[in-house]
Amino acid sequence: MSSARPLITFQGSQNFRIRIVLATLSGKSIKIEKIRSNDLNPGLRDHEISFLRLIESVTNGSHIEISYTGTTVIYKPGIIVGGSHTHNCPPSRAVGYFIEPMLYLAPFSKKKFSIIFRGITASHNDAGVEAIKWGLLPVLEKFGVRECALHTLKRGSPPLGGGEVHLIVDSLIAQPLTMHELERPPIKSIRGVAYSTRVSPSLVNRMIDGSRNVLKDINCEVNITADVWRGENSGKSPGWGITLVGETKKGWCFFSELIGDAGDIPENIGMQVAYHFIEEISKSAAVGRNQLPLAIVYMVIGKEDIGRLRITKEQIDENFIHLLRDVKKIFGIEVFLKPVDDLDNNEDFIVTIKGVGFHNSNKKIA
């Protein structure tokens, strides 16, 4: 917050949201330069600008400077205040792109978060509504953020969107709990939702059939709900998709999701999502690849205590390294990876992180 402190400088456009989020949590100013400087269309994209606007509206005192060409951003974070807002998401990205980073900030806010996001609710790149509701919120729960909900008011398929979702985070906590997960929790049941907007409901059942065909051999309870949206609330475009969630007894969830395009065969999408689901489980220990950043960041900002999380070898990829380097740059802590020496499985690692002792600045210390 003090301008005397030197800026932490990043280069490139990757991990944009995480960098802004980490800066906000740490209260340190950052500078991101060379954003697509070699691109024909250099600088920030409209969804990134939109994301910065969203950050501005949920914080107080943030200062954002964007260079003339848009290739450099200086961000001086304020405090997280939250409150009620409506955010209109640009058509280039789905609402998941904007909701995801909010999950990192919302519990540490001054007022409760209640944000309505308007736009596309499903896409090939971003988290869908079910993925957030059943995939990411359970991760938050593990860290003590229990009163969190995402309501789908309207669905909006790409390209025109017209959806509306409401994110409510009621639990405001001082700091996340320290979490230990040293096992691979087994899955007790598979749930799912297949939805459709402005297309025949038969597509939904065909997707469900496709998935069930693949999953029946697993010999696990499979329960996929059909969710057909009609009329006003089904957005402006036809669309359909499916999300599968594997629930464990411990509360961890694995999930995969897919949406159908024009010309896709619903049975195939159903089968494909089932195979993705199986593949993701085979590559996951306690969290899936798309839940990992959330879990890591919450461990980093935890109490000054050691948290542990089991991950697999496959989960250590470029994204993971990018994340850990960004974490180190901003919080100055390193993550320690310890190989697991189980008899049956020695490919896994335990990520050990000592929290930075982050404290919600809006909460009085008890």
């Binding site: 990757q14 944009f16 090939h124 899955i187 999701e257 195939n268 390193e334």
Partner: protein, 109 residues
């Protein structure tokens, strides 16, 4: 060849992650023992690693100088449908991730 494997196994991922002079792609490659000069070596090792190799190739194509790969995709990378079908033609390997239901309907499965 053996000595080669041993030498490459020595990379400690915990250290590699924070070696800022290496790009994350290189870190992963070194760690998995897939350094560029070992093309023939790669083909010797198990299928699993070959898949990984492909994964990188695809990503490299998608991000020549890291400005196209910056979509911040939420959905992780998956192999093509056909490959996954092949890989999971038998679900035996994944069974231990699930708590199996009692086999009531085993005859109609």
């Amino acid at each position: 060849l053996n000595s080669k494997i041993k030498r490459q196994r020595k990379w400690d991922i915990g250290k590699l992650i924070y070696m800022d002079n290496l790009s994350p792609e290189e870190c992963i490659k070194r760690w998995r023992g897939e350094a560029e000069e070992d093309e023939d070596y790669i083909s010797n090792i198990e299928n699993d690693d070959e898949e990984e190799e492909e994964l990188f190739k695809k990503k490299d194509v998608a991000s020549p100088d890291n400005h196209l790969g910056d979509l911040e995709k939420f959905v992780p990378f998956f192999d093509t449908f056909e490959k996954l079908v092949q890989k999971w033609s038998s679900l035996k390997n994944i069974q231990d991730h699930f708590i199996n239901a009692p086999k009531l309907n085993s005859d109609d499965a």
